[in-house]
Amino acid sequence: MSRRWLQASEPRQAAYALLLLLSCAGHAAWGAPTDQVVYQTPSIYQTHSGPARMIEHLSFFVIELTAAIFIVVASLLVYVIVRYRQRDPNDDSEPPQIYGSTQIELAWTVIPILIVVVLFLTTARILFAIQDQKMPAAAIDADVIGHQYWWEFRYSKFGFTTANELHVPLSSEQAPMITSLNLLSADVDHSFWVPALFGKIDSIPNQVNHMWFNPDKAGLYVGQCAQFCGVQHAKMLLRVYVQTPEEFAAWVKNQRQPSVQDPAVADGRQLFESQACISCHVVRGTAAQGKFGPDLTHFMSRDTLASGAADNTPANLRLWIKDPDYVKPGSLMPAMQLSDEQIDKIAAYLTTLK
């Protein structure tokens, strides 16, 4: 059976048009900017944060150094190939046999050692600057917990948990703001990587790793898990929304609210609470308090579902609930074996969780 890749094969522009429509439908507290800049190519050379920029500049130094070495040595090789090629195929005489030269050996031992020392000192400076940076008290603090195959974000200072889409405030010269992340894992090794903003750091069970960044340009940055964690490692995508302090505050305010209790979908909520959904998912303010899967309290505030495997549209949501293996084969969400009518009700309920 052919798998048309759902509606994610639509151009991104159309997906964002849909989001615009939804956002205009009236929840200002949602916080997604209407003129969102999307940093689509996660290039390590389109950096918008302190650590990433330090790495970028260090890399230029290294490239210049290695390029110089390459040009010198490769030129010598090319010269040798051209100049000392045997011209006359019948010439059987042997060239003078040179066995070595201690001075030359010393020279090309000492000079590389010096180069290595210089490189090491330069590298160490940046390494310590990034890794041992002290976190200011005002830093935004969040825990990032890797799961198979999604990301949990716990903003303990603010008192809420969300999933897959990380929101952080902008850091400007006038108002510097560091986001400080602790990385943990609930199961196997993962790695947290958004190239435009920082170098990756692994999330390893039984260990707490730490990293920080200070993004200086608002927009949406993309990344993904970078340590093989199982069959859907490829779809453990990441979205980091860098927002102005006002937008961020509005987003936090919304996330802190308990879940929306829309009476129009009360039957959907009841159905949801009576299914096994609640053993894996949290919806604050309801009976759903399961910790195995993503927090759904503000599910509709996210642009994608299944950690980026599909855009968050009602049709995709229905498909996901009906047959998760179609969207993300091997994901740990089971097919709930619900009837279409039940799925419609639950989906309708979930789409109210803004």
Partner: protein, 563 residues
């Protein structure tokens, strides 16, 4: 090229062979029960070539899947099994047998010995390696059978715990992986013991350690490294099996086990392992480049020291594979320094090869083509390695396609290229016939084209944020065109390799006779017939310099006067 009459007297046995070959069954039997290092060496090489094709086929499957985003050619499960098997195959069933095969064939000949120190251990080692490989590949059909690529390992060739623990890897794929490698690991250690004992105890008269060919030196260093490199992997895999079946907790996070311990053990194996693979490639370059430049190797003592230095320092760099796991900054800094330092002796070797060619009369027969390409490609690979050693930059590049590009540049661009050069160089000795030069040049240039198309461009998606081990990728990230180019290059490499296989078979039957010394070379293996008789030399050689045949061909200007 020199002709086949050489003043080496009765080193060549001129008595006509009395025995006939016997029935087909008798011939197969003689290979199965052989303890002759030459036959075993060729069996290792044939084994490696078979798995080169198998592993290459797996690579083509991967590249078809990744040629376009959101492709449906392979399911995620199958893709994960195929890339795991590709890596495991190429390292353990292609790389290791290849280096051991060449060492087995050449070391006794080059030191003037009759065979390896322990011929029966030699046979045992080969069959253990073969068994390990067969067991690994049985995983495709064992368990649930062929559907979805069976129970083949699917967790990358690193086998990172806790993913390979029972909780996350149900079924037997982790067991196939661990047990197959434990078994073949015993074979590898046996081979290393043999190489060391042969080199230290069976050199012919006059061949002091500093008169051994550099190939023998490098294989000695490699054998020493194997002893301390394979064992950590064996130990870690035993621990994994204890966890999986005896209820152990070595890597069980629920009981306080630390995944990072597996990482340390694996990389204490894994990094020296890649030097185990590359040093024998250097060994081949050390033999081919001087002969085809018509000059002695420049700086023999420095080359010995550099080889030993690489072996030693490479044991201290392993955690440069772990810069992102959260080690303290001081530890990260240490590994930056040690990794940079291992580049120094490596660079010395490159400079010495160029200095060998300098002032020579270079003949670009196919072996030399491959070894020359090796020099520049290895230079490039080493420099991307230096880039990766810069820990902060590594935090971006780690586990991306940049790393895949780097290590394939070493594995294919350096190691495979050198070994192909070695095949073209020693095939005449092993088989008695020359490989076809025209086909060789076609092979070379097509392979160069395909190699660079694939692995030069592969660096770019890495810089653009594409991680490894993903069965598909998102469109719109700028990765599409590069993946397509990379995939097309793979097809070209496959075609080139098939030309090589054809050459091997065709030349076996139709190649011109080689004689004992078709390349006018200087080490002892060229002092006997092609192929050598079972006992190698009719009488034990006695040498007085590093190039005994040069001394014989140039009695007016022997090396022994200058050493």
């Amino acid at each position: 090229m020199a002709d086949s009459t050489l003043p080496i007297g009765s080193a060549i046995d001129l008595t006509p062979p009395g025995e006939t070959y016997g029935t087909w069954l008798e011939q197969v039997h003689s290979w199965v029960v052989t303890v002759d290092h030459k036959k075993l060496g060729m069996m290792y090489m044939a084994y490696a070539l078979v798995f080169l094709l198998v592993g290459g086929f797996e690579a083509i499957l991967l590249r078809i899947q990744l040629a376009v985003p959101h492709n449906n050619f392979l399911s995620p499960e199958v893709f994960n099994r195929i890339f795991t098997m590709h890596g495991t195959t190429m390292v353990f069933l292609m790389g290791m047998p290849l280096i051991i095969g060449f060492a087995n064939y050449l070391v006794p000949l080059m030191v003037g010995a009759r065979d390896m120190a322990f011929p029966r251990l030699n046979a045992f080692s080969f069959w253990m390696t073969a068994l390990g490989g067969l067991f690994l590949y049985y995983s495709f059909i064992g368990g649930v059978g062929l559907q979805g690529a069976g129970s083949a390992p699917d967790f990358t060739w690193w086998g990172y715990a806790p993913y390979t623990e029972r909780a996350f890897s149900r079924g037997h794929s982790a067991d196939y992986w661990a047990l197959a490698l434990i078994v073949s690991g015993f074979g590898t250690i046996g081979a290393a013991v043999n190489i060391i004992a042969t080199t230290l105890c069976m050199r012919c008269k006059g061949m002091t350690l500093f008169r051994m060919p550099l190939l023998v030196w490098l294989n000695l260093v490699v054998a020493g490294m194997i002893l301390v490199t394979i064992s950590p992997l064996t130990a870690a895999q035993i621990m994994l099996e204890i966890d999986r079946y005896l209820g152990g907790h070595f890597f069980d996070s629920q009981a306080g086990g630390q995944p990072v311990l597996w990482m340390h053990f694996f990389w204490i194996f894994g990094h020296p392992e890649v030097y185990v693979l590359v040093l024998p490639a250097f060994a081949i370059a050390n033999e081919v480049i001087p002969v085809f430049s018509r000059k002695a190797i420049f700086g023999y003592p420095a080359m010995v020291a550099a080889s030993a230095g690489i072996g030693l320092i490479s044991l201290s760099v392993w955690a440069h594979h772990m810069f992102t796991v959260g080690m303290p900054s001081a530890a990260n800094a240490f590994f930056v320094l040690s990794t940079g330092l291992v580049g120094v002796p490596t660079g010395i070797k490159i400079f010495n090869w160029i200095a060998t060619m300098w002032g020579g009369k270079i003949r670009f027969a196919t072996p030399m083509l491959f070894c020359t390409a090796f020099v520049v490609q290895f230079l490039f690979a080493g420099l991307t390695g230096i880039m990766l050693s810069v820990a902060p930059w590594n935090w971006q590049l780690h586990n991306s396609y940049f790393v895949i590009a780097h290590f394939h540049y070493v594995l294919v661009g350096a190691i495979v290229f050198c070994f192909l050069g070695g095949f073209y160089y020693w095939y005449p000795k092993m088989i008695g016939r020359m490989l076809d030069e025209r086909l060789g040049k076609w092979h070379f240039w097509l392979f160069v084209l395909g190699f660079h198309m694939t692995f030069d461009f592969m660096h770019i998606p890495g810089l653009l944020g594409m991680p490894r081990w993903i069965y598909t990728y998102e469109p719109g990230r700028g990765w599409e065109i590069w993946n397509m180019i990379v995939s097309v290059g793979g097809i070209i490499q496959a075609v080139a390799t098939l030309i090589f296989v054809y050459n091997l078979v065709y030349s076996y039957f139709k190649g011109p006779e080689a004689g004992p010394d078709p390349w006018d070379a200087w080490t002892l293996e060229w002092a006997t017939s092609s192929p050598p008789p079972e006992y190698n030399f009719a009488s034990e050689p006695v040498v007085a310099s590093r190039r005994p045949l040069w001394d014989l061909k140039h009695p007016e200007d022997p090396d022994s006067r200058y050493e």
